[in-house]
């Protein structure tokens, strides 16, 4: 279907090792914290220990007179120049939100909020002086529990008058995309099946490898800001909008960035304050957060209650789905906080042909770190809910969970398919992916073993979890974003520079932070321009080089940014062709471009693109009217989302004596359309699955009753490592996307979206014979055991003893 398929594709589909890995893995690169400039000052933040308090006084005297301290800034100092941090996505026009300062002025709304900034000559002196800043607080009642906060029992921001930020609804009958869900529910109540469940999406912390770091240099004509961010272009425009710095006087650089997972899709208080400190002192300033600060104050993810009502007939045909969400915003609205649950709102119907659908979402403030994008952003929550509840439907009807899905899913010959939420799915083949996954998994044999273990009441029970996911990726058609209330667009930009020696520079507006764009983009360009892979250099992340772009998130880089690169390459060829014709004294119509050369059809005369670039550089033989450049820019705005899918199967052994769940095998067959580099796809799938398993079994951001983050270090916030995970069996089917010429779909979030319900379904399946139909995430041994005992599975919100207790003076450790 695409031009790509028709030409010899030497690079596309090749499992090349990533060209950026040598420097990333060995650390021979420059991260933001490595940047040291002459006369640089260092920042340390003083953060509120209280979740909700009024600041009654700040004494900076001792800190200001401490060794090496340049200045100490408070909210009172900066209130007239700090502006307000932006929320770029009002999901309804009347959305309510408190003003979001970078530094608190009179009121702190979560533990970790910045109340003072120490600027010193060294990082150590800044840290020492931060301990000397004396802040007086008057504590206020805290709004922590999400449901209680939704009922306005305690106000997170008393001045706002309510904790409810917005109420958003989608109704398929009203939207004319389906029927009336209440009618479906009534019908199911009389003679059908009604499944009603409530699920908790626990709070997660992105926990990227490189903590956030910012350096700002005010000494040049342009203010230069380095930031460990996913979104340098966002940072540039928001520095202009929030601080009033003329946009053309700002340069933002995201150098190599060590991971983000959505956690660096933000315009941060720390960025604003580093810039303000640099502007005030006239010196370069740098701030690098500690891991503890990152856990406390970088935005969190998920945190929702989901009430799910599924109506079906007794043969397992779903007739309606109703979803009521309460979503925890935390203390403020960050960049896209308010829209995260809504990004999932169109995916609760999953891969299924549901006739009626209704979703409501209530966004609620609490006195906790604000939430925002985290790998999958709304779609993991949606996929979890529907895939969990489809298993519940199967259990209720005594059907195989795959059979129930098959009864309801879109068949491969029904694409493109417009769903009950109004999305048009481009392509897919759920039957093929599922058949392949079942075979690789040994599904039938495992079911037999499960039966045997149930019959023998084996203390170790076996559970099988199914997740047949889809997601919308490739954020996003600008028109769609506009219709949804987002302030920005969703296009992407690329430039290609043909250098005189035949080498190629590709400039992308996407901003890789571990994904491997330098490799994949090189593969795309090498194929399209017929140049060697190693002759392509991919540049990114510096607004002075990549002037236009909308950065990396939402599995958009390849489907949107890769397409812009392809379009730029095509423009290079378009520009080159008449010049080649002129130089070879041939008619444009007689030229063909094969293997990197323009040839005159039917002759031996040809000219390689590199030679053409040199001739253009010299210009000796070009007419004066010719443009002496082969360079091209292209912007791509996607026609629509793409909808990758896959079938993930997980076998979990649950030790009923200890409650421990151990993944025995994990098989996934993903369909992400055409693949540029299978090795990169494999890496994304592995990492994604691991991150989704982490939600299912290990990770949870926990606050105690006073609003202190209990999981404030990796002693208590349990990020699994390779040692905690099984080998994954991964495979693919390939159904090209029809919404872009490359035929690609996104893969950055797929594994995370798919794996969480696969694992929890397996845990619940293992316990089903004990009458268990849910275990709250993360399915810790304590929770599983408590569930089996019929006890409340509430886990105490207290850290490991070593964190809370001071050590003995004799500590010889």
């Amino acid at each position: 279907m695409t031009a790509v398929e028709e030409r010899p594709a030497a690079e596309l589909g090749s499992p090349r090792l990533r060209k950026e890995d040598q420097r990333l893995i060995t650390g021979r690169t420059r991260w933001t914290d490595n940047i040291t400039l002459p006369g640089m000052h260092h920042l340390a933040m003083v953060r509120s220990p209280f979740a909700h308090a009024r600041i009654t006084g700040i004494d900076t005297g001792a800190a200001k007179s401490a060794s090496g301290v340049v200045t100490v800034l408070t909210g009172a100092d900066l209130k007239d120049e700090q502006g307000a941090l932006p929320n770029a996505w009002a999901i309804i026009p009347e959305q309510k939100a408190p003003e979001h300062p970078s530094i608190a002025v009179e009121h702190v709304a979560f533990a970790g909020e910045i109340v003072a900034v120490v600027v010193a000559r060294t990082a150590a002196e800044a840290r020492d002086a931060a301990d000397l800043v004396d802040v007086d607080y008057e504590e206020l009642p805290v709004a922590l529990d999400l449901k209680a906060a939704a009922a306005d029992e305690v106000l997170a921001h008393p001045d706002l008058g309510t904790n409810v930020s917005a109420f958003w609804e989608f109704d398929s009958a009203a939207a004319d995309t389906g029927g009336d869900v209440e009618a479906a529910i009534s019908a199911a109540r009389d003679g059908g099946v009604l499944i009603e469940r409530e699920y908790r999406q626990q709070r997660l912390i992105p926990a990227f490898m490189e903590p956030r770091s910012i350096a700002a240099d005010p000494t040049g004509e342009q203010l230069t800001v380095w930031s460990a961010t996913q979104v340098p272009h966002f940072v540039k425009i928001f520095l202009a909008l929030v601080l009033g710095i003329p946009e053309h006087k700002i340069r933002v650089i995201a150098p190599d960035v060590g991971g983000g997972f959505g956690g660096k899709l933000q315009f941060t208080p720390e960025e604003v304050l580093t810039v303000l400190a640099a502007r005030r002192t006239g010196k370069p300033c740098k701030y690098t957060e500690t891991r503890s600060e990152s856990l406390v104050a970088a935005h969190h993810g998920r945190d929702q209650w989901q009430k799910i009502t599924l109506a079906a007939t007794k043969d397992g045909t779903v007739t309606g789905l109703k979803v009521d969400l309460v979503a925890d915003m935390g203390a403020y609205l960050g960049l896209v906080t308010s829209a995260i649950p809504i990004l999932g709102a169109f995916m609760y119907n999953g891969i299924y042909k549901f006739p009626a659908y209704h979703l409501s979402c209530t966004n609620v403030f609490t006195n906790k770190a604000w939430t925002d994008a985290y790998r999958g952003a709304g779609r993991p929550e949606a996929t979890f809910a529907i895939e969990r509840v489809m298993d519940e439907l199967a259990a209720e009807l005594g059907m195989d969970p795959i059979a129930v899905r098959e009864k309801n899913w879109i068949k491969h010959d029904e694409f493109p398919f417009t769903t009950v939420s109004g999305m048009q799915y481009d392509s897919g083949n759920y039957e093929a992916a599922t058949a392949k996954a079942k075979e690789l998994f040994g599904y039938d044999e495992l079911r037999k073993e499960q039966q045997q273990r149930r019959e023998s009441v084996d203390p170790v029970q076996l559970g099988i979890g199914v997740s047949t996911f889809t997601e919308m990726c490739g954020l996003a058609p600008s028109r769609w974003l506009g219709s949804m209330g987002y302030v920005g667009g969703g296009w992407e930009h690329a430039s290609i520079r043909m250098l005189p020696t035949g080498k190629v520079e590709v400039i992308t507006g996407t901003s890789p932070h571990g994904q491997g764009h330098e490799t994949a983009w090189s593969q795309i360009v090498a194929d399209r321009l017929g140049v060697a892979f190693d002759d392509v250099e991919v540049l990114h992340g510096d607004t002075q080089i990549a002037a236009r772009g909308l950065d990396s998130y939402g599995s958009r880089s390849l489907t949107v940014g890769g397409m812009a690169v392809l379009a730029a390459a095509d423009k290079v060829l378009e520009k080159a062709k008449p010049i080649a014709a002129e130089l070879m004294e041939a008619s444009v119509d007689d030229l063909e471009f094969v293997d990197g050369k323009f040839g005159v059809k039917g002759t031996d005369t040809s000219m390689a693109l590199g030679d053409l670039a040199f001739a253009v550089f010299q210009g000796h033989k070009l007419s004066a009217e010719s443009e002496h450049s082969l360079d091209a820019d292209a912007t791509f705005d996607p026609l629509d989302f793409s909808f990758p899918h896959g079938t993930h199967l997980c076998a979990v052994e649950v030790d009923t004596e200890t409650g421990r769940s151990t993944i025995r095998s994990y098989v996934c067959v993903d369909d992400v359309g055409k693949v540029v580099n299978p090795l990169i796809v494999e890496g994304q799938v592995h990492g994604g699955i691991a991150q989704g398993i982490a939600q299912a079994l290990f990770e949870e951001g926990v606050y105690d009753e006073s609003g202190t983050l209990v999981t404030g270090s990796f002693v208590d916030y349990l990020v699994p490592t390779a040692a905690d995970l099984p080998a994954f069996v991964t495979d693919r089917t390939e159904t090209p996307s029809t919404t872009n010429e490359l035929g690609v779909k996104g893969v950055g979030e797929a594994g995370t979206i798919a794996s969480t319900p696969a694992v929890v379904n397996a845990v619940v399946d293992a316990l089903r014979s004990f009458g268990v139909n849910d275990v709250e995430m993360p399915c810790t041994p304590h929770r599983v055991w408590s569930t089996l005992q019929g006890r409340a599975a509430d886990t105490p919100a207290a850290p490991h003893s070593a964190q809370s207790t001071s050590m003995s003076q004799e500590g010889q450790a």
Partner: protein, 283 residues
């Protein structure tokens, strides 16, 4: 994070180290640093002086002394874990040491540091108690020996005084004993939620002697004396061991935290004790 400033001393003998501790009121001893450095970086502690034992050669090494093994306090975990004498005479200690954190930590962290740190969730105090280790403490008044059961006084508190150093761990030989350390965690690199250290001497098919101690079932390691007594003379079968292990939680006062409440830990103690004893008995 950056620790608060401190003065640093690196003596090369125990006497020099003791002199430094006597001289400075607010000194902390640095062994392998795998707990102290994080605590300093988090500014949970801010001592004025650090006395680093890393250059004191006499504190390293493992040797035999009659019926005991003598392990220098500054011997790294990795050395204990892989030492042939420990494997032969104090297998329980080798097995427990192998579960401490990760390989990097085990190459830097030391047995003495782990014992004096006395984290209730640390993995070495329980085997030390189970094996009846004796801890040799050097102080201004000379050296004294304290039994492991008396050494751990409270959370992060031991018999090592402010001006003292733990210098040696003397472990009675348990040659020919079966051993197992059953550590329960959610992820591999985690402090024990509960751990059980078990060593048994078999006489034919029955248990002649048993030593069982529990990790993180109280502020200090807990000797499961009732279990030990109940095991004596019993066959090493699942039923018999289960019956004895049912008493594992007696007299314990486990913590409640994000990994589980006290009741769960008491339950775990019985399950893990059964498993540890059976594994130690090779059953």
């Amino acid at each position: 994070m950056i620790p608060a400033a401190f003065d640093y001393h690196a003596p090369s003998t125990v006497d020099e180290a003791l002199a430094l501790l006597a001289e400075h009121d607010d000194a902390k001893v640095l062994a392998g640093g795998q707990s102290l450095i994080p605590v300093l970086r988090l500014r949970l502690a801010a001592p004025e002086v650090i006395v680093d034992l890393g250059r004191i050669e006499e504190l390293r090494g493992i040797r035999e002394d009659g019926d005991a093994l003598v392990i220098g306090a500054m011997t790294p975990h990795h050395a204990v874990e892989t030492d042939a004498l420990v494997a032969e005479h104090a297998k329980l200690l080798a097995l427990a040491t192998a579960t401490v954190a990760d390989p990097q930590v085990r190459h830097r962290g030391t047995i003495g540091g782990a014992l004096v740190h006395a984290d209730p969730a640390g993995d070495l105090p329980a085997p030390a108690v189970a094996l009846g280790a004796e801890l040799v403490i050097a102080g201004s008044g000379g050296r004294r020996t304290v039994a492991a059961e008396d050494f751990f006084e409270d959370l992060f508190t031991t018999a090592v005084g402010e001006d003292d150093l733990l210098v040696e761990i003397r472990v009675p030989k348990h040659t020919g004993w079966g051993a197992h350390y059953e550590k329960f965690t959610r992820v591999v690199q985690q402090w024990s939620i509960v751990g059980v250290a078990a060593a048994v001497r078999l006489d034919g098919d029955s248990i002649a002697e048993a030593r069982v101690a529990l990790t993180n079932m109280g502020s200090t390691p807990v000797r499961a004396a009732a279990v030990e007594q109940a095991l004596v003379g019993q066959p090493a079968t699942a039923e018999a061991v289960q019956a004895a292990a049912a008493q594992a939680a007696e007299g314990t006062s486990p913590p409640s935290d994000s990994n589980g409440d006290a009741e769960y830990r008491r339950h775990l103690a019985t399950v893990l004790t059964r498993r540890a004893v059976l594994a130690a008995a090779g059953a």
